[in-house]
């Protein structure tokens, strides 16, 4: 019995690890591309990302996009602390990554997301193509479970 229970535990652990429940905090024009990625034309459900979640307590993948100013940064931190652990973070767009094309330094209101929270995957671009966001999710899965993915094994077997 204990063997079965441990197997079940690993199964649940693996499912929890590979099922991404996203919480999208996005401003500006990058929102459009994220919507495009989540809907029928690119459909990130194929890669194991579920419906966009509104409650931070249930989500474990945070997607930050668009510009981040002082007020917004407090909001992002608050959301991040409430999220399910371990939390993965994807930052999308130049605004979130490096405040570009706004100037950094004195007088700037902009804040990099990486200075606030630990970003796992960076997606450069203004805005990035939906393919770039999808490849970010693939990178994230590679990082979470190293080695060949089930998809690659299946493709190799079919060949």
């Amino acid at each position: 019995m204990s063997f079965l229970a441990s197997r079940l535990e690993t199964l649940v652990f693996n499912i929890e690890k590979t099922l991404h429940v996203p919480l999208v905090l996005s401003e500006g024009c990058c929102t459009v591309e994220i919507e495009n990625t989540s809907l029928a034309s690119y459909d990130w459900g194929r890669l194991g990302v579920s419906e966009v979640e509104e409650l931070p307590q249930e989500a474990n993948l945070l997607i930050v996009a668009g510009w981040v100013n002082k007020k917004r940064s407090e909001e992002i931190k608050e959301y991040y602390e409430q999220m399910r652990k371990p939390t993965q973070v994807i930052a999308v767009g130049s605004c979130a990554l490096s405040c570009s094309p706004y100037k950094l330094g004195a007088g700037s209101e902009m804040i990099k997301v990486n200075d606030l929270i630990n970003v796992d995957i960076f997606v450069p671009g203004c805005p990035p193509r939906p393919e770039a966001i999808l490849s970010a999710i693939i990178e994230l899965q590679k990082k979470l479970s190293p080695g060949p993915s089930a998809q690659e094994v299946l493709h190799a077997a079919l060949k």
Partner: protein, 174 residues
């Protein structure tokens, strides 16, 4: 006084309404099952979307016929860049016909906004916006693209030839 028209007894039955809604969904589902080729979803890692020729993707530094960089380190692109993400270090070339060349050409891809101004500013077609989409990478990766990555990465197959050739330009007196 507002008069509200009572719904007809037929409208109270919600099941036909649900079925009408489902009819569209089921139609789409059957259509997609019947012809998977016409499905609008792009199956990304296996299937690639065909971009237009004007697509602005990752930068390419073009090369001359002998394989060295076409760039003359004139700094026009770095001056023009709205994000100030290009940094070039110029050096003198051994060949007296070639004025200068870049010993380091770096683009901070996290700051780049893929506007294409560098491509427009360049007088000798030395930098181009490539046909690949932007590259997502995990934290700790190198996000400052150098000459090896920009000019000689695997997708470029040993370097993309510049449209401008030295001899032709000299003949035309440029």
């Amino acid at each position: 006084m507002s008069v509200v028209k009572r719904p007809s007894p037929k409208a109270k039955w919600y099941i036909p309404g649900i079925l009408t809604g489902l009819k569209i969904t089921i139609k789409h589902m059957l259509f997609n099952l019947a012809s998977r080729k016409d499905m609008i979803t792009v199956q990304y890692p296996e299937e690639k979307f065909q971009y237009s020729d004007r697509f602005k993707g990752n930068h390419i530094l073009t090369v001359k016929k002998d394989g060295s960089l076409r760039c003359t380190a004139c700094m026009l692109c770095a001056t023009h860049c709205p994000a100030e993400c290009i940094s070039i270090t110029a050096a003198e070339h051994d060949d007296p016909e070639v004025e200068k060349y870049p010993i380091s050409y770096e683009i901070d891809i996290l700051r780049c906004v893929f506007c294409g101004y560098c491509e427009e500013a360049c007088p000798v077609d030395a930098i181009r916006m490539g046909p690949e989409h932007q590259t997502a990478a995990p934290a700790g990766d190198n996000f400052i693209y150098d000459i090896t990555k920009l000019a000689y990465r695997a997708e470029n197959k040993g370097g993309v030839l510049s449209k401008v050739d030295d001899q032709e330009r000299h003949k035309r007196g440029l």
